[in-house]
Symmetry: D3
């Protein structure tokens, strides 16, 4: 696309689905992808060199035939060469046969979202940079998105969750994500430094009060949810895994979320996202067809 | 798309089709779009301010609700406000009713292309920046693309033509576009200035010889056509109108092309594109369904 | 000026004076200028798009005639169209007639400053970017600037105050602005990060001590005031309103200042600026002619 | 001005006037200003380092007290130190006493211009970047500007001339400057390279025809002159000296112009500017008060 | 070098040695180098203007002969002109004669380092930007580098120390530098802001525990030391002076370090660097030949 | 070097020498290095991606261990993997054994230069970006450099030649390189476009006259040669091969030069460089020790 499409480390749920469908899957023990001297995944340098490499290419007027192999040369250096066959628990597999052995049918997974700039109960491609390939998601009202997700966890299914984690209310170190009401919204453009201090202080105090239960969490309507997306407040930041449901001593309901940031934070890699936060800040959820409600399953033509 | 999609003055044929389908059409005499002090269209300044305006928006973290109206404010300043109703030859119209009066059914137009990175006789969205909206074109072998286009002109249909005009062989001032064989392809990266002179001289001599008929035009295979697209040699430059067929004194065949660059060049706004140039450098052609061959019409499900 | 003059959201007191003189004034209830979805003024996005729009224009070699109307299109989108007539308390006004009804004679306002790079008791245009239009201010010794301002407030006049608010001693959240003595002035260029921590810590401690009254405030001479302006330490940051005088339990004197940052800080939108801070950091003050001392009024030719 | 004013090698006529008034003048034989290894003036490197030095300063938050002396250090290196006293034809002078000996009274020079965005017969500061200091010029109708200039040369006075030399009609190598009519004004933003060739060819042909006298020169009205200034077509490029009047074999009238580009072009450093070019493209002219018409002298209060 | 070598305020120990050898030395009381209005050294502005000046020069295609004198003009403005002769304690000196009077023989100083990408007991030029001139250092095992430095201080010699001070364990305000073990090394590129908070918190806790003696300091092997240099973790940040040895109540050993950051931190300009920190983070040490061990002195050919 | 050294496609003669010495050499028929779809060498894209890749790395704070292998991945994609063994004319070789079979002793080659900023008859590392590794050349007077080179060709040795080919006098398409006298050296910084035309015209005329033998070639002294290097006029552009000597009909002497720009120009890849051009514009020559004069061979310690 001559540089007019995003090239970055991120992607969406469907990228994973699509790759497994097309190429299969390999156990981590066989292919860790860690050939760059660290014990955990950190793609900062890889992302930087891939982007630089591609940007240099598109500045040229004419491309050679070697660029794709050069790109693979970089990827192989950081991840290792992809195994064509491998042994696992005494048996020999290809990535494809391993996927089939696991019984993964990628067509059984469905991605839900909830916005009003497209009609409900239709498919549309979410307009976010990470969705560079234009994968469609199925659009439902926010209440149905919540209920379906809760229902899925109730049935014992884990749910993939795409959300915005650059919010003031995403207090990861305290193991919680909730909606913080903001009272001051004015910001004069020219005196930013002093004024930014004022706002940062106010937010920090708000978080403290929220953690002590002194302020009720704010709930947002479907229209407010839409506005936050339209005006770039809600961004497509991070993908995590919903693994359970929880209720606190005051009766507030949460999803238990498994994060990929090692064993950090007070819950050692897990945290709790409130239902209102989920409703306001979810970009997409993805789950197995059997995790859906009957009605939704029918609408989507699964049997 | 937070800036990861193209925003520029250009677009593709289907943009026009789509706008007429959605909003209708207005006669030039009613709405010239020339509110900026020039007698002919020149969007350089408009393109620049629109891009700057949008780039400034996406740098912000949060958008206001006024940006869209501000954008319209700019467009209205350069083009004038779009007429909701207007009179034409004594009758009153809306853009929609004018389109209907003209008998334009936008679903009757089809766009053809010819590349091998997708199967022939399938639809795919050409991967060029101007095709920002992902409109699909129908993929046929290059010979069929040529034959269909010749056939359409034979039947009296004009054909929209998207092509690459930044080629050495696009000798607009001489009123001709053909394929120039290049013999020197070496280019040492470090001594560019002197070496570029060598190449420019050689190309200019080649053009002179071509114009005198001293060298035969080069024809390219489907594979070479594909390579030129893959390696950025063929770019999606410009849309024009094929209005006729022509043969020169040596029997070479040409399309007569109507350009939008005023009455310039030796043919006052027209020029001739050779069949081999058309085959090698066409990105897309678009025509009315009735201009297609019977076979293609059938394949595409038109009756 | 082809981009060699400042275009930004800021301006100086005289810009307001001049606009009211030329175009009149409108009550906020009639024209809030808030058409962009926020409840309070935040011009960050507007400033960004205006700047981008203008920068794109000046890069072009030739301008069209539509650019000014495009600019107005943006302004109208964010502020709304300026009312030509409006009703207020049952009467109909134009902006001009409303100004006249209010009895505002813009020639009755005068702007004072105090610097030594121009002679005292002469007018000169302050050399700061926001003074893009070259408005002159009247130059007096710093003591006279202080005394005149105190005198104006004593007589019951509010005073417009332009000052530098990006100082360590501008402790807005604590509701105070005073001069903090800095003892360490060394800063080795190459080890910035660590060294900056050292300085930040030291300043924070100094502020704490000042707030507890453990350190006396530093007073600056006219020469030191000049140096701070000459070497870019004093910048033309922000305009506020002086609304009263105050004395603390230790006898230190302050101006009560009304800020435009909503009801923030411990005094809900107000704070106290010490006299020494005022003397050191004021760029300009503006007041009604009747608020001036007799002598100054005479010097300026007011009767 | 923190970088919001122009710093460049250029300036306006009044800069010269002002410097002589303030500091005096020195003969070239005493102070050539050529201390950088060339035999003629070329300030490219000096301009670049001065701009870079100043840009680096304004990026800092606080200035030291040494920057001005550092700037002088650079200037002294390229120009040499300014002589405080010097001997000339056996007598000793200071720059001031030399100016006085020459009988130069800088208040005797006046600068004329002709635009309609300010009233005629008033002074205004031309809004061009080189006029960074806001010097005013006296505004007269374009015909009066022409007549006064012709009158001055008739009386034997040389006239300083500020004009736009980046025009197609400024054919310096052929020793002439005239107005070339342009017929094609369209320019589609997206296909620039090919289209630019078309325009360049057309202009070159137009120049050839003009030189052969095949096309009449275009004359412009005061309104067209204004438009060319407003839309950045007329720029404040270059200062030269009008030294005489000339008529060609067809009766067209010209100013003889002395340029500062060494003995270049067919007239060895001189060229001829047509009256219509002068009328259309002059930004300012400057002359001695005694060169003015009686009426203008009176209007300006000279006796 | 046309800009392909570093030009910055920093340098290495040998730059000092070399300048004294070539030009001599002057007492601070005679030549403070403080001509820019500050009481202590701060080269930020000077570095910026020197870099800008040089960058502007290398962009030109051809240089004039004045640039070097212009550079000296800047340096003289900030530092003052270098004294050719001066009086000190009643005697007259040149810089050279003053150096000789002090008995400084610059060939008596030697610089040690310890890396494995060159053989031990050979000289090599450290590949760091500040070593722009390619000065060689003598390579010894890290244990020998430590022992030699301790031995030198034992004998009463001060030792110059080049080290990396941008480490988390360089806790200057607490007066200590030690190695902090890091446990979390994962960092996902795309969610930087939140994740960075997690890491910063963890580091801060680690520092607190270290300061309370709750965690043992980590020691690094020669191979780990090398890796930190190879992968840019160890950088050539800052030069200081080792002036003594110390042991804390738990028996841990330290160098007492004199810093040049005024009387800052809890030890008023001094701090303590642990032996393990020294071993891991030293880039170079330099000392007098008589401070070396007998063996090393012999190896280096000193008698 | 953290980006403070040059990384580019170019290098110096000694790079080739050094690589053969260290790794051996392989026949072109075995390893063409052309794996990127072109028939001749064009490293533009490769240079661009390598530079981008490295620039991205040095922006990171810490490097992974995979970067070097990623770099090799790119190189292998464009050049192919380096053969460890290969067959040539029926025999099996390694690169090292092939070099030895050829009888190449890289220590037998010597590089000469001629500048006065280092003493003659000493070695120094030429201060040009391509000499990133600091290889030394042997410094001789320019006459001796010429005589030695002529002597070498007389004895039948080809001579490697590093020279500046971005000169006006390097008229490659006409097959000649000579020194063109320039008469106009003035260039006013502000009116570049018009003035540049003047200079370009003048140079083109000078070249025409030179080609017709109407002007004598200019010869430069050692001091002028030095100045051209010092002020960036002479740059280290291109390496070629001197293969013979020639004299024209007027007795002017030339080197016959073999270029690497395919069979271009009127001599199909060859051209003639005049002795004065060689003397003025040579940066370095390299030849076999046996091609040297007896005296030079002795000075250099060859037997």
């Amino acid at each position: 696309m001559h540089g007019t499409s995003q090239l970055a480390g991120g992607g969406v749920w469907e990228d994973v689905v699509n790759v497994i469908r097309k190429y299969g899957v390999v156990p981590t023990s066989v292919y860790s992808g860690l050939c760059y001297g660290l014990e955990n995944h950190n793609h900062a340098e890889l992302d930087a060199v891939i982007k630089a490499y591609a940007d240099a290419l598109i500045k040229g007027k004419v491309l050679t035939t070697a660029w794709k192999e050069g790109l693979n040369g970089i990827l192989d250096a950081y991840f290792g060469e992809i195994p064509k066959t491998f042994e696992y628990h005494g048996k020999k597999y290809t990535p494809e046969s391993f996927r089939d052995m696991l019984g993964l049918n990628m067509d059984d997974y469905v991605c839900l979202t909830s916005f009003t700039h497209h009609p409900f109960y239709t498919w549309f491609a979410m307009e976010v940079p990470d969705n560079w390939a234009g994968y469609p998601a199925y659009n439902v009202p926010q209440k149905e998105m919540l209920d379906t997700t809760v229902g899925a966890l109730d049935k014992g299914y884990a749910v993939w969750w795409g959300s915005d984690v650059s919010e003031s209310g995403f207090v990861y170190n305290s193991g919680i994500a909730f909606n913080i009401p903001e009272t001051i919204t004015t910001e004069e453009g020219t005196e930013l430094s002093k004024w930014a201090d004022v706002k940062t202080n106010q937010r920090a105090e708000m978080v403290k009060k929220m953690l002590k239960g002194l302020i009720a969490e704010r709930e947002y309507t479907q229209a407010e949810r839409q506005l936050a997306f339209d005006n770039y407040e809600t961004t497509d930041d991070h993908g995590m895994l919903l693994t359970g449901l929880a209720v606190d001593q005051d009766g507030h309901k949460y999803f238990k979320v498994k994060n990929s940031w090692a064993e950090s934070g007070i819950y050692k890699g897990y945290f709790y996202a409130s239902y209102p936060f989920f409703v306001y800040k979810t970009t997409e959820v993805a789950m197995h067809k059997d995790a859906l409600s009957k009605e939704l399953k029918a609408r989507l033509g699964y049997n």
